[in-house]
Amino acid sequence: MELISGGDMLVRALHEAGVEYIYGYPGGSLLHVYDAVYKQSAVKHVLVRHEQAAAHMADGYARATGKPGVVMVTSGPGATNTVTGIATAFTDSIPMVVISGQVMSHLVGDDAFQETDMLGVSRPIVKHSFAVRRPEDIPEIVAKAFYIASTGRPGPVVIDIPKDMTMPNERYEYVYPKKIKMRSYTPPQRGHSGQIKKAVEMLLAAKRPIIYAGGGVIIDGSSDKLRALVDRLNFPCTNTLMGLGCYPGTGERFVGMLGMHGSYEANMTMHNADVILAVGARFDDRVTNATSKFCPDAKIIHIDIDPSSISKTIIADVPIVGPVGAVLDEMMALLDEAGETPDADALETWWKQINEWRQRHGGHYDKNDSQLMKPQEVIEAMWTATKGDAFITSDVGQHQMFAAQYYKFDKPNRWINSGGLGTMGFGFPAAMGIKMNFPDDMVVCVTGEGSIQMNIQELSTCLQYGIPVKILCLNNGSLGMVRQWQDMNYEGRHSHSYMESLPDFVKLVEAYGHVGIRVEGRDQLPQALEDTFGKYNDRLVFLDVAVDETEHVYPMQVPMGSMRDMWLSKTERT
């Protein structure tokens, strides 16, 4: 029987759990573990420049691959620096395992150097957490952490390891469990058949239906099943910000994103619907607007793996708890069995109405002849340049909404953004995590000059590992979304939303050994895009594009209104 140290156990267990990359930063409490990492090559470690970026890299990896991302940080500040990244993953139900070092067990509670109660700090933003108390427990804890993080409604799991659990000279028997079974954690495997039958009957009887699909469809890997159902029923489909790509953005039954900055047609279709099938979506406040005025005529069928998401903000008429894929399979089987189709005449009338709504707004924005571009057209040009097939990550603000509205995602797992928590600084490290795992794909971080500065130090990591992501910075010299709200609600008083003394981004990225291109006007954009994806394909390119700072994101729902109450431009309201 081979005996190994706690540090070696940790690294071996990570390998057995299927880990390819660890994103992290070493420090005192983890030195034994880092030595164990050094002595092997199965698990690769990526050294970031700030621990928050490690968490976002792991997150980007997880969103693109569906597998848990792994973060490793030292105790104290190393651990607390990951908090924003953990919260980001938690809010969007992203599988992640965070290993945090801890001071020696006998020092815990003594306010030792670099001691923080990481389990306490992270408690509200994790799915679960473990403290290692015996080195021989490490393999089982790692196996459990991956099981919990990646099953049911996924989420981040923290493993806190005191330094004395990893001593190189204390060796123990290594046993990695073949199967994990926990009496207190059994995620649902299928939905309730009676409820699914009721739902199918309701769908078949619908006259003005809509399918409202969210991130849960992507997480479950069930986009194909959703597409099949939408097409089979000939129902309109809308996606949440987190769900973009689960139904093709260029599909004819797609009415666009819904919610605060949703399309006119998506919000109108929702408001006037008689049956809403919500799939892996959670009726977030950025979707529903005022819940008291939400879709007054609609009966609601809600499929979600997390029972606490159902009837939390909007009461479901037919709740179905279960994995999206299993429930959709059963729905399709029932439809096949019944051999019935929805009311074709009613649907024809409904589609006629929806197409009228499409005509009215349809993603319109005011282009003009000045050289200074609108941000929307930059996104459209990038969509064309990447043939709509890139992984797009974003930060948070106007650029995020423009990317969501104007980049049509035809595939799932391609749109990577911090939808729930709204974390500025997310996009760039997330893009890095993706590019390392999809070296042959185009990976673009759409950002603004505000957000990018929240994790810009990672340009250094990209140099070290040769990560040629593309950064598209929509530079309007102001915190655009804040400025928009100040324009609309604070009589244009731009309190601290103006960014004076911006760096010269081209020089900055050149200093880090990358390529920077400044685009001042419309005429320069095509060449810049061509170079970015052609000549500089294997380099990190920072495209700093000047855009109109007065532009607003529309449609925008009127606060406290219903789904259909929207501003469509600075002057036009529904």
Binding site: P124, S129, S308
Partner: protein, 163 residues
Amino acid sequence: MRHIISILLENEPGALSRVVGLFAQRGYNIETLTVAPTEDETLSRLTMTTTGDERKIEQITKQLNKLIEVVKLVDLSEGPHIERELMLIKVKAIGAQRAEIKRTADIFRGQIVDVTASVYTIQLTGTSDKLEAFIEAIGAGCVLETVRTGVSGIARGEKVLSL
């Protein structure tokens, strides 16, 4: 409405803090909380009373059920149940008051468990309402100190909360 939620919890360090943290973090109200290991040393039994409308209680139970360490959960107030709370109460007892307090304690089936020349310490068991009624009966003015365990509860009949 007041609800009594009874939980079988993994008897592990940190489990209780997750339950309590959940209430703080989501703005739920804990009125009473009792927790102790069961005959199975791997499990703790936790009873909490909370208030809220049906939707709120539904969310509370769903959120509690999501905690990995929560093994089983029941809302005792949904069915017939027995609830008990224990109170130790220290009261001023001088002169004629002494006999009166003793009589009142007897009526409530309380026991005087400690005596000095001027103070009685009384032990009382019952529903929360009964404990409050006792305090009212002897008059809040003579109460020096109270300590209550919080509510413990169990379902009536054959229903059991176990693995």
